[in-house]
Amino acid sequence: MAFPHRPDAPELPDFSMLKRLARDQLIYLLEQQHEVDKLYKVENKPALSSNEQLCFLVRPRIKNMRYIASLVNADKLSGRTRKYKVIFSPQKFYACEMVLEEEGIYGDVSCDEWAFSLLPLDVDLLSMELPEFFRDYFLEGDQRWINTVAQALHLLSTLYGPFPNCYGIGRCAKMAYELWRNLEEEEDGETKSRRPEIGHIFLLDRDVDFVTALCSQVVYEGLVDDTFRIKCGSVDFGPEVTSSDKSLKVLLNAEDKVFNEIRNEHFSNVFGFLSQKARNLQAQYDRRRGMDIKQMKNFVSQELKGLKQEHRLLSLHIGACESIMKKKTKQDFQELIKTEHALLEGFNIRESTSYIEEHIDRQVSPIESLRLMCLLSITENGLIPKDYRSLKTQYLQSYGPEHLLTFSNLRRAGLLTEQAPGDTLTAVESKVSKLVTDKAAGKITDAFSSLAKRSNFRAISKKLNLIPRVDGEYDLKVPRDMAYVFSGAYVPLSCRIIEQVLERRSWQGLDEVVRLLNCSDFAFTDMTKEDKASSESLRLILVVFLGGCTFSEISALRFLGREKGYRFIFLTTAVTNSARLMEAMSEVKA
């Protein structure tokens, strides 16, 4: 039932090297500071340490600089002298130094960089753990992280050899790719002469496919993320899951044998699988009966520990399932999924709109309401003006007027827009494109960017067959395509694009899709001679998600890999889901 890999599946590269590198560098940095006796979280509170030196390990954010400055200045006021060291990860930004200088403490602190940009969350998943990438780039237009991405890719190619085939789509993907290429060219040809370990790399901007990220997740790992929030590869299971009075932090990765078998499964199969597993386990335990003393000794020393471990994991996941079922299998959740499917397929739009309105009126959840509005907007190429106004009004009444700013953000990012009346749209478009070429019209481009970028979801969906035709029931136990991650209703757009390009080894024949995605200038292929690449490495594909990827997408591509004999490796700026995307766009009162 769970995905066994095909016998011919290529081996994954060893990512533990990345961990070792990062660890060694940090140890080196910390050793320069004599003793580190306690770790504090950087938050807006005075540091209680009485130590002679303080070392801050921070992300390069202005907020953090202000905090450090307030701390140092407080020390100064009280006549206290300490040594301060700031270690920026993954890199230092000039703006941060500027703030330190403006706050008058630049001379008091020493700075270092910890170039830790790739955290291996799992055997096939690397995360840059930069959730702010999404807002910074896709909302604020801030390109500061692109260089970080390029450097991370450069590190990968130094460790695992060059990538013979590169594909990408999206403006950010293209910029990151070009910067990375420059880095490679500056280096001596050392990496180029190495044998490639990973045959393909595919870079994809999150805004190429917002739809998939906005859908409710129904494969186990995604559902766990939506329900409990997985942070850095681990999850806090509360008392309702652990069936004790304590919360438990659980690592979720391939090491957890039980989880590994259900992570990619549609939720409807998981419970059955787990109970089967429980029965098997019981049978294993039961073998004890009728054992002689020697067999028993063997059993205790060799098997019992494993069984107990499995038992523990099994009961945890059963607990998680129960908790999810309690929350999700209510009628509410089914209605919600039904509405999402209707939106994806584009029927009963009026009914869906009323559903969303009711959702807002009942104050079900500000983030969920917002998500549904965005899903409606993107699948419909924007809301019709009447709905645009009324839904927003209702939303402000329910969840507070500060969300006026949230709407302004969503509009800028192209997530929630107003449909321009049919004919005039093209007129506006051509007008905008004319203005765009006019240099002085920077701000006009800005204001109209959401308008100029139509999502065209319906047309793309048709072109790429994203809604599978279902004759009879879709068998979720034996999935036949990637649509199983959304109960058979929808093939994730991002994954379909990757599948299509890999099949063709180029964007050839996808021109229309690329145009509809507004990416005509940002879809690229770059192939080198493959004579050095082994056939095994050519079936290994690194997919880079700029702006985050969801567990559903990971599951879908793992499925695709098994079907086609590939193996996918994922690099994402952060693991995301619909709630995280919406929160990134939301304005909350300070």
């Binding site: 202005i62 500027m98 604020e140 237009g141 500061r144 009711e358 009126d361 009444q397 700013l405 002085a440």
Partner: protein, 695 residues
């Protein structure tokens, strides 16, 4: 060649020597060397001659001339000496000519007579004048030692990192020492000097008298002393014609010799033959040369590395030869050919008579994109020579746009620097340029520049959002970006303002901006918020409790929960809350209050716009099946089954579904048939289904 020994002459009893000419000097000297100050650089380096150094004695119009020749006498440079009188000349290890003037100023020239820099040996030297000076070489570099008119020593062990050290006084020294030298021992520079029959060693802390071991008696004065190049050995010549040779540490004597000449020698130096273990001292008088030898020892030759050799060739502008050597030795391009080409290019940009275009083209043709060549370095050199245009042309060849930025900034081409920084994709670089621009331009021009560079603009905006809110506002103002201005003031109304009046004022400004942006929706919403804020303040005053900052929905709910129904209804009317929302709101609030009576009254007040299923749901959420059932009966036929299932009446739900002949409803009911008592119901449904299929 019939007799190999023909040109060998005997030297003493057991040794022979021969003389042959390696090459002849190319120079054409008119003066005698004795009238010149002469300095020859080590390792066959250049030779400097200063003719007529004693200007004072000659007519003022005859200026001294400084000539520089290669070791083979090829003229390299010749210039008129226009500065003060020179006491001593010497070459540094980097082949820079150090000219020590009488006033203690040291002028530094390059191999080709190009003036590099000057430095002073300090005030004490300036006051007392320079009596004598020595240039010496240490492992750190080259040093200068000065003997002043006050018979004090000042030295610097490394002119590259000038630290002046005034040496302690020598007790009883009234006149200049008869001879002296700089020594370098244990990485410290010393001065060894002779005063009558005594020798003194000066270090920076003390002056100590020293005696060479095994020195023959009867010496009343030392006339000359010489240290070997490595500072290991010392030779002393006394007024008795006696020569002492030993270690410079004065711990060991190597040999001694007495000659019949008592006159002070003109020169005394250590010499050795390559690979020979024998060292010797050559003593020179006016018409006599003497070699005193026999000091076997193992010495280490300081090897000139290939890199140093290449440096020296480059310094002599022998670029083609250097390149040939690199190619012959197969040196990697970056270390070899590229480096030499880069040097060549740096020389090329100094040729003032060639036009910018030609220089740039010539350089590009030769260098192409040779790895390791930095066009920005060459451009920096061009700019250093005052050729800004050439520098810009050269920068165009620099493939890494980031590398172009620092020089462009230096040349005050900040706007070009900004485009290049943006091209490089390095946001830090962009930011650096931005701050430069901010200081360089007036605010208006700065904003104008930003306006044309969206990437830089968003970067700067991000910074302002955290650090310079007022600037952010100005940016939006300048662009007439009323939409963002509106958002800015809305944000201010939450973050910056505490007082209600201030917040309302901020919102008013926001609303005005939204009107200007033709965003009527946002303007109206903002005005509604102003009204709501004022109202909430009034409610807090009149009713107590917490109202400020609640959403409209929550405000009404709070009123109902506080049983202020009239107020709630008034508010709903004022803000035109749609009926559906109001019904949901009231239903939820009353159920929360468990005010079932009021709820029932409300449900009957008019026909529910949201139907009655929500009543069933909400009552069930409060676990009140009794109330729920009341409303289940009022649910319309379409939702009847759902309502019945909600209150747990599976049997009746089945009846309704069968009556409706609705397959979806039937399976929904069936999925609820889980209890033991539901068996009959399930059968009933199955029968109904079978019947339906028959038809």
């Amino acid at each position: 060649m019939d007799c190999y020994t023909a040109n060998w002459n005997p030297l003493g009893d057991s040794a022979f020597y021969r003389k042959y000419e390696l090459y002849s000097m190319d120079w054409d000297l008119k003066e005698e060397l004795r009238d010149c100050l002469v300095a020859a650089a080590p390792y066959g380096g250049p030779i400097a001659l200063l003719r007529n150094p004693w200007r004072k004695e000659k007519a003022a119009s005859v200026r001294p001339v400084l000539d520089i020749y290669s070791a083979s006498g090829m003229p390299l440079a010749s210039l008129l000496w226009k500065s003060g009188p020179v006491v001593s000349l010497g070459w540094s290890a980097e082949e820079e000519l150090l000219c020590v003037q009488e006033d203690g100023a040291v002028l530094v020239y390059g191999l080709h007579g190009d003036f590099r820099r000057h430095f002073s040996m300090g005030n004490e030297v300036l006051q007392n004048r320079v009596l004598d000076a020595r240039i010496f070489h240490t492992e750190f570099g080259s040093g200068v030692a000065i003997l002043t008119g006050a018979h004090r020593f000042t030295l610097s062990a490394n002119v590259g990192d000038l630290k002046l050290r005034r040496m302690p006084e020598v007790p009883g020294l009234q006149s200049a020492p008869s001879c002296w030298t700089a020594l370098c021992q244990d990485r410290v520079a010393h001065i060894l000097l002779a005063v009558g029959p005594d020798l003194y060693l000066l270090d920076h802390a003390a002056c100590s008298a020293v005696t060479p071991p095994g020195l023959a008696p009867g010496v009343s004065s030392f006339l000359q002393m010489a240290v070997s190049f490595t500072y290991r050995h010392l030779a002393l010549f006394t007024d008795t014609g006696y020569i002492w040779m030993g270690t410079a540490s004065l711990k060991e004597k190597l040999c001694e010799f007495t000659c019949n000449i008592r006159a002070p020698p003109k020169q005394m130096v250590w010499c050795s033959r390559p690979r020979s273990k024998e060292r010797a001292v050559v003593v020179a008088w006016e018409r006599r040369l003497m070699v005193v030898g026999d000091a076997p020892e193992s010495i280490q030759y300081k090897q000139l590395t290939i890199q140093v050799l290449l440096d020296r060739l480059v310094l002599r502008r022998l670029y083609p030869l250097a390149i040939q050597i690199c190619e012959y030795l197969r040196l990697p391009e970056v270390q070899g050919v590229s480096r030499i080409l880069a040097h060549w290019a740096c020389y090329k940009v100094q040729q003032k008579d060639v036009s910018d275009e030609d220089v740039a083209r010539a350089i590009n043709q030769k260098l192409g994109d040779t790895p390791g060549v930095s066009y920005s370095d060459i451009a920096a050199r061009a700019y250093g020579c005052g050729r800004t245009e050439l520098a810009i042309k050269l920068l165009e060849y620099e493939p890494r746009s980031g590398e172009q930025v620092p020089l462009l900034l230096k040349m005050k081409r900040s706007k070009l620097a900004l485009s290049k920084a943006i091209e490089s994709g390095d946001t830090d670089l962009v930011f650096t340029v931005l701050l430069h621009l901010k200081n360089e331009l007036n605010r208006g021009d700065f904003f104008m520049t930003l306006r044309n560079q969206p990437m830089a603009l968003s970067l700067y905006r991000q910074f302002c959002k955290h650090q310079e809110l007022e600037t952010l506002k100005d940016l939006y103002n300048q662009d007439d970006n009323h939409q963002e201005l509106g958002s800015f003031h809305i944000r201010a109304s939450y973050a910056a303002e505490e007082r209600i009046e201030g917040r309302v004022a901020a919102l008013q400004t926001a609303a005005d901006a939204f009107y200007k942006a033709k965003n009527e929706f946002a303007a109206k919403a903002t005005e509604d918020q102003m009204r709501l804020l004022r109202l909430q303040r009034r409610l807090e005053d009149e009713l107590g409790g917490q109202f400020l900052d609640l959403s409209l929905h929550d405000t009404v709910t709070t009123l109902i929960l506080g049983s202020h129904n009239k107020r709630a209804e008034q508010l709903a009317r004022d803000f035109r809350i749609p009926d559906k929302r109001l019904w949901w709101l009231k239903l939820t609030a009353l159920a929360d209050l468990e005010d079932w009576e009021e709820l029932e009254k409300f449900s009957k007040s008019k026909k529910s716009p949201i139907g009655y299923l929500p009543f069933v749901e909400i009552c069930m959420k409060q676990h009140n099946k009794y109330e729920a059932k009341k409303y289940a009966s009022r649910v319309g036929p379409e939702q009847k089954v759902k309502a019945l299932l909600l209150v747990g009446d599976v049997a009746q739900a089945a009846d309704v579904a069968i009556e409706h002949r609705n397959e979806a409803e039937l399976s929904l009911v069936l999925s609820h048939c889980t209890g033991a008592t539901d068996g009959a119901t399930a059968d009933k449904i199955q029968r109904a289904r079978a019947q339906a299929q028959k038809k």
